[in-house]
Structures are given as C-alpha cells and as structure tokens.
Amino acid sequence: MTEPMVRAEGVCKSYGRLEVLRGIDLEVAHGEVMCVIGPSGSGKSTFLRCINHLEKVDAGRLYVDGDLVGYRQRGDRLHELREDEVAHKRRSIGMVFQRFNLFPHMTALENITEAPVGVLGRPKASARAHALDLLDQVGLGDKAAAYPNQLSGGQQQRVAIARALAMEPKLMLFDEPTSALDPELVGDVLEVMRKLAEQGMTMVVVTHEMGFAREVGDSLVFMDEGVVVEHGNPRDVLGNPQEERTQAFLSKVL
C-alpha cells in the first residue's frame, strides 16, 4: 500500500486570532495505531476533528485513504463539498469522544443500530444481529436494553466504541476515550481498544495513557502549541525524548 490512511500536509487551523494548528505534517499507515500526546490546548482534539471534517482546515491538505477531506480538487481550485457529501465521507471514519455522547433517549442497542439502519440503509434485523455481536465483543452482551444513564462511564464508552464500529469504519479516531472515567474503569476500555488494534484497525488515539501508547501504539506524536514536536517509535519518544519540550512534558506526566 503506497497511499497512507491519513496524510496531513501543512494543516493549519485558527479560531479567530488563535492559531491552534500551525502546519501539521503527519502520515498514518494502514493498520497503524498512532497515539497523540501533548499538553492541554495544544490542538490534539482540533487535529482529530479536522480528520473527519468536524472542523474546517484553513490551510494545508488532509487526505483520508487518498481522498481530500472536505474538498474536491478540480485543476488548481478546491471546491467545498456539499453537506451530504461530507456526511457520506464521515461514514467510514469512526469517532469516540471523551464524554461518550451516547444518545440518551435510545437503548444501547438502538444507539448502535441507529446509523447503520438510518444512514447505510441496512435491514433492521441484520443491523440488530451485528449490534448484538459488537456488544458481545466489548463485553456488554447483557446490556442491549439498557439506557445510557443506566450504564457506568466505562460501559457507556464501550457502547460508544461499538456504535462507531457498527459503521464498519476503515479508520477510528479516539479523543481521550478514558479521561472522563474512574481509574478502575479505564482498563476495560483500553482492553477493547487493544483488541481492536490487534484486529488491524487503523487508529489515531489522543490519550494520556502512556502505558497504552507504549504497548499498543506503533507510533507516538508529541504535539505542543499546534505543531508536531516529536514523532517516532513510542518506546524511543517516551524513553529517550530528543526535544526539550517533550522532556519537560514527560517529566510532568510520567
């Protein structure tokens, strides 16, 4: 495979005067698990949200599986995609949020089947069967009928992962999936993510779980003030950081 799953070329993003991303260059290969760390406000979430076009990129290019995100190139002009075209492209990119964002008025099962049935037009019965299978995989086979507020944070997050997987995405984005969880619930979620990685899913994971980054990650990116400061093998970056800013950050969190 020559074309990487994600390719960022000089991605910039500002909110008004605040430059949040200042030229990000990154590649994520097929099947790669990339972990992203960095101090609060460094632009990690923003970068992730650019990948599925929840945020518009101001400058630079972002490609997912060879497809330009959010635009169509004709000659040297970029044409913005229509809303339904953007929605169509998001189908193949799963996203998991820090605060789960399950739909509270639907059961766990309904949360998972909503998009496959409503967006992909899958038959209800097969979507249900697939959803039950996914719930089993995340260890919640008995929670199909539970509403989100009847589940613990860790359980909700695993349902959220199953919900994203139900779309059979080629890429999964995780934005601090365990940061809102009580410490004893973190392990279950990380375990699900580890299994997903073993199955070959391409993943970009913003996380503060250095253990996960070291053991599951294929590469590690340290971001600060909207730029990639260091990028390499997780063991190298964590064990022997080259940049001063990385050293300073790691000395605080490790």
Binding site: A87, R91, F97, E114, A164
Partner: protein, 300 residues
C-alpha cells in the same frame, strides 16, 4: 458500625401553625362550598339543563376543532421558525425573527380581525410569476376567508410565534456533543434534527406546549370578534334570550374545566413517553389530583 446501637428515637420537627392555618382554611372552604350549593342564584338546575344542550355541544365541538387545528399550525410553524432561526442562513434567521416580532408584538384580536378583512386589502389571491408576471390560478379572497379560516389563520399563525421560542429553547437545551456524535456517524443535518435533537428537545418543549394548548382552549373564545361560533358564543346567545347569565357561564366553565383536565392527563402521558432514558429510575409519577391542580408549566 451500627452494631450494638439502640435504634435512634427521632422526634420530627412539629409544625403547630400548619394545623391552625389548615383548620381555618378548611372552615372557609366548607363555608364557600355550602354557599355555592345552596345559593339559588347559581341556578344549578339550569346549569345541568344546558350542559348537553345541542347548541352548547355544537359550540364545544367548534372550540375543540379550533384548538386542535390552531395548535397543529402553531407547532409545525413553530418548528419551522425555530429551525430557520437556528440555521446559519442570515436571511432565514432574520425572517423568522421578524415574524416572531410582528406576531408577538400585536394583539391577537387585531390579527383575527385583520385576517377576516384581508379581502379589503387583497380582493383576489393567486399564484403566478412575481412582480406583475402572468398568473396561473387565482381565487376570490372572500370565498377563501370564511370566519372559520380567518379564525384558524389568526390563532395558528399567532401561536407559531410563541411555539417558535419554545421549540428554540428546547433545541438549544440539547448538548452539542449529540450533534457532533451524530455527524461523526455520517448523519445529515435533517436526520440529526429528527432522530437525535428533537426527541431530546421534547422534554423541554412539552410542558410549555401543554400550557399553550390549555391556554389556546380558552383563547379560542376571542373568535367572537369575527362572529365564529364556539362554546362561549353558544352560551352567550342562550343567555341573551333567557337571561340566565350566571348558570350558562357556569355551564361553559364546567366544559372548559373538563377539557383542561383531559389535556393535562394527555400531557402527562406524553411527558412520560419522552422521559425514557432521562432519569435513572422512572420517576414516580405525581398523583393525579396533584397533577390537575398545578399548572402544566412546572419543570420536569
């Protein structure tokens, strides 16, 4: 920790004044009730005579039809206006704001009369190319605008302005993360609104909508100004002949109370339907009497 402890004796706080005020109120209420029943001027036999009078029932039917249809127009219009206001489109948002400004800013009675006499402004209404182009179809305004359609237009369009604000606050009460998660799943804006945002907004939208419906039930009596026939007009026409003013007003009031009670129950059912997944245990529903005696506007 509790082992070996004798159970604590708890002496609850006593409220002697509650008993005193309660007793005084009970006496006053009993006195009022007796006087209402025994005072012949209330004319209870007349009240019962006219309760199921065909003219009263006809008025009641019109009141109900007006209430239901105006609320349908109001709710649909309100959702449209709210979505326009929240859309990124400045022209749509501006139009919706102007509509709300106009319809909330003028008396309903004025609007009713305005719609009834719209034929004076536009004798014919048609579809065609704007700014003087050819017209495809047109109607005589006077045949379109009956007392009924003017009443519906007046009540429904006015209601839409109020419902717009209710729907808007409901939509805005839904966490942005919901829209984000739905977008990330590839849902389009319309689908997100229908499947994710509105069902959650309902919890905030329903109680004030119940209030509006109950209020509409009684507001329909304003259509008397354009001569449409409803419950209050029916009662009025009867007492204009037999001079039994108070008994007929009571007849009408009893019907309004009955309808309000039914609406309150319906509202409770709908609220329960939309509270699914919103509280850990399904909240113990309040007693029926309690429900009927409080306004529908209390927060969920």
């Amino acid at each position: 920790m509790t082992q070996g402890h004798a159970p604590q004796k708890v002496v609850p706080v006593r409220h002697p004044w509650r008993w005193v005020t309660g007793a005084i109120l009970a006496v006053l209420i009993a006195q009022a009730a007796t006087s209402v029943v025994t005072n012949d001027n209330f004319g209870w036999p007349v009240v019962w005579d006219y309760l199921f009078d065909p003219r009263v029932l006809q008025g009641l039917q019109n009141t109900l039809i007006l209430t239901v249809l105006s609320m349908v127009i109001g709710v649909v219009g309100g959702i449209l206006l709210a979505v326009m206001r929240l859309s990124g489109n400045p022209i749509a948002a501006g139009l919706a704001s102007a509509y709300i400004w106009l319809f909330r800013g003028t008396p309903l009675i004025t609007q009713l009369i305005f719609w009834f006499y719209i034929a004076a402004l536009y004798p014919r209404i048609g579809l065609g190319v704007p700014f003087g182009g050819p017209e495809f179809v047109s109607w005589d305004t006077n045949t379109l605008i009956t007392q009924f359609s003017a009443a519906l237009l007046g009540l429904g369009l006015n209601e839409a302005a109020y419902m717009a604000e209710i729907v808007r606050s409901g939509i805005q009460s839904v966490d942005e993360g919901q829209t984000e998660a739905a977008s990330a799943l590839g849902m389009t804006r319309g689908r997100i609104l229908r499947r994710i945002v509105l069902p959650q907004a309902m919890r905030v939208i329903i109680p004030p909508t119940g209030n509006q419906t109950i209020s509409m039930l009684k507001t329909t009596s304003l259509v008397i100004v354009i001569g449409y026939y409803e419950l209050m007009v029916a009662a009025g026409q009867i007492y204009a002949r037999n001079f039994q003013t108070i008994p007929l007003l009571i007849t009408a009031a009893l019907w309004y109370l009955a309808l309000t009670s039914v609406l309150t129950l319906v509202q409770t059912q709908i609220e329960r339907r939309y509270s699914r997944g919103m509280s850990r245990s399904s909240k113990a529903s309040r007693g029926l009497v309690n429900r009927l005696l409080t306004s529908g506007s209390d927060q969920v």
